[in-house]
Point group: C2
Chain length 205, copies 2
Amino acid sequence: MVIHYPNGKAYQAPAQSTAPSRVEYGGRGMTLEQELNASNDYYRVTGRAVVYKKPIPIQLVKVDYPKRSQAVIREAYFKTPSTTDYNGVYQGYYLDFEAKETKNKASFPLSNFHDHQIRHFKECLAQQGICFVVIRFATLHRLFVLPASVVLTAWSASTTGRKSIPLRQIEAAGFELQPQLQPVVPYLDGVDWLIQTKVGTTHGK
Amino acid sequence: MVIHYPNGKAYQAPAQSTAPSRVEYGGRGMTLEQELNASNDYYRVTGRAVVYKKPIPIQLVKVDYPKRSQAVIREAYFKTPSTTDYNGVYQGYYLDFEAKETKNKASFPLSNFHDHQIRHFKECLAQQGICFVVIRFATLHRLFVLPASVVLTAWSASTTGRKSIPLRQIEAAGFELQPQLQPVVPYLDGVDWLIQTKVGTTHGK
């Protein structure tokens, strides 16, 4: 299903940007977004972290209230989001991230990012948030937590230079997640690594 | 406009729970929600904090894509939110809050809160988030930042005891905000006070 922004531009579901069909991964047949929602549920129920995906912002125009029944939205429009998709709290740290998927095998295309996500990452990093991207190389069955700072640097360079981040750079600058049963996407392992490498510089309270 | 949850229960816009009509406050004629959105914009633009109101969660059923035009949602339903309305990051701290308004003069009715908000506050406090409620006594023209812990205690006691928080308790346990031009709701003043009184116990990294 293709959804459009008010300006007519196609909305790309973040977790499915380059993989609109369901990706068979580890035999579970869930999209990255579904896997992250399940992982967030797991982390919340087990008291590890409180993280949610933000709802898609909607402009309501017409809502019907049938008697003895629930309200029905009859006319509404998609608004352009202002932020990334996921945020929450983990041991006092503010977490903020996007989920992205690619079928590429050698690099991650920066076209998967939108201006508002880049701007939001910059603002959150300035407030000492823990900001990152969960990147899946679907064909390779590999999953990474990549610091937002790496994306910002590549984004700035892309105006004159290359429009993607090489896999070898993601391997070097990111944290590879090992798929497991529960949670399916153990991204807090990458967050622990991020905090360990960053404490004292960005979160030295 | 009354909106209903899928179970038919009426949705109460958080900032207008007991004041569905616009409240004239300081001559600006904005609701508390509008004032908070303006304040969040101000804090973000000035680099003080990154805080957004979460969109209302929607279940999409039918979306039309007229040619050369933007997508139109033709059938959708409101879902019960899982969280509070506002969250974000401030100097490395995770902020999470609700906005509530009452016309009462002597106490704040706990009926303004919903189960999911109480549960979410508990979970976020366990993760060392900075959780609070911005409460406006519309008739009195008084505005407070009240720690979520005070609400949780009153909520627990309300099963057998009183169903509201007395104003005198809010005066004693909360932080009164002084209305000003920019931002209209200077809630970070209350957050600074919260952090000052709490550091070492909940956020002593």
